[in-house]
Symmetry: D2
Subunit: 222 residues, 4 copies
């Protein structure tokens, strides 16, 4: 994925699943094509392979387990994501936290398969630790701001710039996303100004009355 | 699903995922059409919606979480399974055990949406307890026999008939599956003779050199 | 334990841990001796063996894992509880839910060692299922009432009497406790009138300005 | 704790629990007093406070949760460990892995209370990440060697020295332990020679016919 980028975690809202969610994915695809902006999406896992068939933008898993192929019913292996056409995956989202050893294993296993990883973190200390695993992205999202009305770039700009600066020094190849509460182009522009490579957001688009308009506004901030 | 039935848990083998797994799903679909046998499949979760598009047989989730629609990144909601076209789901597979309260909530939530549930259990006591939740099926599989070479119907026929008999009395509307180690039509016939409504199996088909031949053999035991 | 009984889950409040908690345990011991009432306590796990040394009333674990003796660092085995002098343990408390297979295994493992089990449940369906494991007690506590100001016996008497009645039929050897929000002797009397064998409570005593007075009041309801 | 040190994780063996375990703790106490060697112990959690009363050496928890004091039945809070007299705790042992966010929170919460933390890790990448949380110790133990007959210092000396060297640079205040398979004074001496500050071991002492003799031998390697 080119950066700065917008990654939409579609989560599991009514608007995100099944045919309704697929329409939303196609809107993202359209906006990306019209604007040339790098937009990625993480649809509900059951819809992943079908979404890949229907859009041209990068599709991510919402979660991955470090299990090897075999008898691991109900888990999501890196091999399965790759075979289904995903280009990468969220790891350790605040709504799906992982064991520390599994975060590291997920990143290493995905990297070996050429899958991008977006490791979500809750504060500066965890962001720095996760960056040492050398994922593609670290996405810092203070849990108390996720799903809320105030963008992290306004509510806590310090954590965004501190993370960006710390990672630049500690792991310069790791890109930084942020996004809790991000809703519009101004928030995106601020995220980039604070030193990040883009945003990871969810409800601001998924629950919008007009997701297309919100996406166009977000893209304007790139 | 009509019973007696064969449910294939495709698990996460190399043969199960992506386009390769989709071929396997189509073989199941073909065999079901040719023979009229009730065959259901539980493909890898990322391939679920796409598989639904490509086959006519019933498609199940490998796992479901009791979360409500909303911010539950990486989880599998009943609503998501339904929107993706699944007719039901495995619950509490031995490789994906659930909290007791969540097994009950999963069954109740799925039932409210018209989704079938196949609750997997490890012994007679847990089978009886799970049956009180009134799932569509209880699938008893002694964990030590799963993925092995000896069918539960030979290795431990007592647990199969005891479960079938106990549930007939305790929860007569709940159907019973079994399956650990089931590999051929003789095993299927024995499972039915022991009082069950069919089999839940995995590696015997997925890892077979000729899955079509194995499926035809399995169907012969119905 | 003789019933009807009062079991105090001390949880992990400031008032529950270390020497302060030990004082609270001794108050329970005193009240039990003065009144002859059956009072049991579940102190913080790190204080369990020491509490056993200091009081004569029955001491319970707050949690147990089904692991066998050996390399299971940080887990609580039934053997460890027994060796430390506990007479039994809470299982599957709403703040420490367990896998369904582990609830069953916990009860069976404890029973084999002569340890009493108090399996906590969240609704009628789970209470009935848990009762089939034949624990010593099922303690039904609607999670939304735990730690609150209104006793379950007032807020939802139906779940208490329904559970008591259902278990009388389904598993007559299993005793029933209730307790979310229980605070005084009137609540205890009502719990017994609704068909239970006593109460399991926590904050009403632990956070009381005068725990001794509250305990004496509770005992008056037996 | 003075270093180089020997920390005995007593785990949950038959020899570790109840009065038998307390005898083992006293043997450790005796050997520490006789030799002046810094020996710490992590007894079964239910025996923690009682062990503190009976020995003078440092006592550690086997596990800690990041929960705050309150309604967290069955969990182990830092406050509870401190109130019971522990000087610190193991965190994230391979038999009790934790969420990445909880490892960080555990270390921060314990530090604020003056409790030492020994964060267990499975490889170099996780060791470095954990070191950024600034625990007192990182204890690197390749899981496949734990409980085995070959000391990590022989089987994989590279991981020991690599970890020691990497942490010296990355987090010079964090001390390093190792220990999987450590059994005798020669192993201890080698661990120190490879750059660590001591060993964390378990079965080599707990399951020994003569733990006192083994401890004396271990101490000879300091």
């Amino acid at each position: 994925m080119k950066t700065p980028a917008i990654v939409l975690n579609m989560k599991m809202y009514d608007q995100s699943v099944g045919p309704t969610g697929l329409e939303l994915s196609k809107i993202c695809d359209d906006v990306a094509k019209e604007t040339g902006a790098p937009i990625g999406i993480a649809p509900p896992l059951p819809d992943l392979a079908l979404t890949v068939k229907e859009v041209d933008i990068p599709v991510f898993g919402q979660h991955v387990d470090p299990n090897s192929p075999g008898g691991c019913t109900g888990h999501i292996t890196p091999e399965s994501l790759k075979a289904s056409g995903a280009v990468g995956t969220l790891v350790n989202h605040s709504e799906r936290r992982l064991l520390m050893a599994d975060v590291e294993a997920d990143v290493a296993r995905c990297k070996a398969l050429g899958l991008d990883t977006i490791v979500c973190t809750n504060n500066l200390a965890v962001s720095k630790a996760a960056a040492l695993f050398e994922p593609t992205f670290v996405a810092v999202e203070p849990p108390e701001l996720i799903g809320g009305d105030i963008s992290v770039t306004s509510a806590d700009p310090g954590i965004v710039s501190d993370t960006a600066n710390a990672l630049k020094e500690l792991a310069p190849n790791v890109k930084v996303l942020t996004g809790a509460g991000v809703k519009n182009g101004k928030d995106v522009a601020m995220a980039i100004e604070l030193g990040t490579d883009g945003v990871l957001l969810a409800s601001g688009v998924v629950k919008a009355a007009d997701p297309r308009a919100v996406l166009l506004d977000l893209v304007s901030g790139l």
